[in-house]
Each structure stands twice: as C-alpha cells, then as structure tokens.
C-alpha cells in the first residue's frame, strides 16, 4: 500500500527532526492529512504503529483530516473536492500524485484547469512533542 511509503516518510522525518532538536523520546506527533490524496487513515495509522521504533516507539500519532479546498485562478471560484465527480481511475491517480488533479479536475464555474489547492493536498507534520 502507498500509505506505507507515506508512513515511512513520516517516521524518517520525525527521527530527523528529533535528532536536530535533541529530543530523546517523542511523545506526540500531530499530522495533517489532506483529503485530496485520499489516504486510508486506518492503514496509515497501522503502518505508523508498526514502523515506530527507537525514540519514537511510544509516540502517539494524532491525525487530522483536512478537507480539500480549491480556488480557480481564472474566475476566483472556491469549491470543495466533493463538487467534482471523479471516476475510480482518476481518484487513484490523484491518490498517488495529487498534482494529477490538474488533469482531471476543472473549475465547476468556468471550466478552467488553472486552480490553486488552498488546503488539503497531502501529508504534513504539524508538530512534535517530546522530552529532551
């Protein structure tokens, strides 16, 4: 599953940040997961629980889902992803590479493919709490 690759990336990044900040034990990691990437949160949580070792092993991963909000650069329309009717193949492509949304999604008002993803694209580490 692609979620495992994302989980590995999170673990690597948390380790790196912990090293830089001199944290010996990580207690909590807050992660934002954008709707656009359609990550299966249960799979991501399971992968994180299996991959966490060393100073991360006791960390709690707090995952917040963020709704995808899009804004047309041409006419200014703002909309949420649910407005666009996408087939399974297009959804899968966007899951792997969210930027392929620009091939499948158009502004619901003017039809332009030139839009901005205001929020809810992919995965982001929001904060890390730990012990020095």
């Amino acid at each position: 599953m692609h979620e495992w690759a994302l989980a590995e990336a999170i673990i690597s990044s948390v380790s790196e940040i912990a090293g830089k900040e001199g944290l010996v034990e990580i207690r909590e990691v807050k992660i934002k997961v954008g709707e656009l990437q359609q990550v299966e949160l249960d799979v991501l949580k399971f992968a994180l629980s299996k991959l966490k070792t060393g100073r991360i092993k006791n960390a709690e991963f707090v995952i917040e889902a963020v709704e995808a909000k899009l804004k047309c650069r041409f006419c200014g329309q703002e909309w949420s992803l649910s407005k666009n009717k996408l087939d399974a193949e297009s959804m899968e492509a966007i899951h792997f590479v969210p930027e392929t949304a620009y091939a499948y999604i158009k502004c619901p008002r003017c039809g332009s493919p030139d839009f901005e993803i205001l929020e809810g694209r992919g995965i982001w580490i929001e904060s890390i709490k730990g012990v020095k």
Binding site: E16, P98, Y102
Partner: protein
C-alpha cells in the same frame, strides 16, 4: 512544521549507484531521446537501469519507447513499470494522455511525491529525463538528490549553447558534478561547441550527427538501436560508464 516526504528521498535512492539527470538549457535539443536511448544502451550492457521521466508537463519518453500502458504496481510504495528491461516511471502512468497544466510549485510537489514513494531498489544507473532549463524541477533535484550528476545535451547552435552556459554556471556554483556535454544534431564540421565546453572546463563527451531517420524510429526501440544516433550515443555511453576512458 515539516514536509515528511523530504526525509525519505535519499533513502529511496540509497541502492542506486549513479543518478544521472539528462538536462539542457532549452527544449528541442533531443534530451528525451538521449535520456531514453542512453538508458536502453546501459541496460543492453547488462547494467540495472531505471528511467524516470521528470518532464511532467511534456512527457515524451513513453512515446520514444513505444509504451502503450505503464503498469505500475503498489507495494509499500510505487513499484516502477518494467519496460524493455528498464524500471520505468512517468507521470503518464497517472495522467494518461491528458493535458497536465502545472505551475512551478506543483511540478516541485509532484516531483517530491514520486521521489519519496517510488521504490527503485537496486540500480546501477537511474537516468532522469529532466524538463529543459533551470526552473523548479532542476533546482529541486539539485537540492533533494544527494548523489545527482548532470549530463548536458546541446545542439551546435549559439542559442542552445548560451542557455547551456547558464546551466553549467549554475551547476558549478552549486558544486554539482557534471559528467559532460553531448553535442546533438550536428549538421556540419565545426568545433564551436567543443571549444566552448572545453573553455568552460567541462568534459566534452562527443558529438552525434543529425540523423533524419530518427523520427521514423519513435516507438520502435529495435529500429532506434540500428540508427547512427544510437551507435554514436553508445560510444558516448562508454565514457559515462568509465569516466577515465
């Protein structure tokens, strides 16, 4: 706070011995053809080779290789397709033949996504077909891929070389290794480009004459191998394999 994908990129590439970005100052110099054919030549020499088409808005390596469908698999990440013995990745696997209009920041995001999730495994060479110029993708690859080296393609045109000069200057400033410059589409006897490259203290790897037959080979790798283009590039490839030759 942090984009978690960045930290994993060099781990994804740790079993790749050499990562070669085939680049150019401007478009239309045959960069994708050099990248694709070089990958095939190295594979034919029994090296394990990957080809990554990083030209997201104008991908063309699938057309050169005659790939009708790019069959990636999902493991603990994305397993590249197998094409003519190469591990192959292109945005076309996801965007298909649809128009993919991307701004610079979006190119960066897609590039980071694919570098952080593609499982290249063991490779002797990963050849990257870069978008032309020195915008986001070039800067990101230099920033993110520790073992990157550049192979620069130019035509003998002054216009092409003027843009290559800027690319070489950027690479020098950023201390990025350059395997050398390939002169493509040479149409007459002259040494303008070789002289300029050597003056810039960069390795001139060789010249490839303009080959009018090449257009007829697109999509047919067996025909591509029989061209003068491929024969000349094979000589250049031997210098890339063993830089001292």
């Amino acid at each position: 706070m942090a984009d978690p994908r960045i930290a994993i990129i060099n781990k994804r590439l740790e079993k790749v011995k050499r990562v070669i970005a085939v680049s150019s100052g401007k478009g239309g110099v045959g960069k994708s053809l050099v990248a694709s054919t070089l990958a095939l030549i190295l594979s034919k020499e029994n090296y394990d080779v990957g080809l990554f088409d990083a030209d997201f808005t104008s991908p063309s390596t699938h057309l050169i290789l005659g790939v009708k469908e790019i069959k990636i698999e999902e493991g603990r990440g994305i397993v590249p397709a197998k094409v003519h013995g190469l591990k192959y990745m292109s945005i076309v696997a996801f965007s298909r033949e649809k128009v993919l209009p991307l701004r610079g920041a979006e190119v960066s995001n897609a590039l980071i996504e694919l570098f952080s999730t593609t499982l290249w495994g063991d490779l002797d060479f990963l050849i990257i077909d870069m978008p032309p110029g020195i915008s986001d993708a070039t800067l990101d690859i230099i920033r993110l891929v520790r073992k990157i080296e550049f192979l620069v393609v130019s035509t003998p045109s002054v216009l092409a070389f003027k843009t290559v000069e800027k690319l070489l200057s950027l690479l020098r400033e950023l201390k990025v290794p350059v395997s050398g410059v390939v002169e493509n589409m040479k149409m007459k006897e002259e040494s303008f480009l070789m002289q300029k490259v050597e003056e810039a203290d960069v390795n001139f790897l060789g010249e490839i004459p303009f080959d009018p037959e090449i257009e007829n080979t697109l999509g047919d790798v067996n025909a591509l191998f029989k061209t003068d283009f491929a024969r000349k590039l094979a000589e250049i490839a031997s210098k890339i394999i063993s830089p001292s030759v």
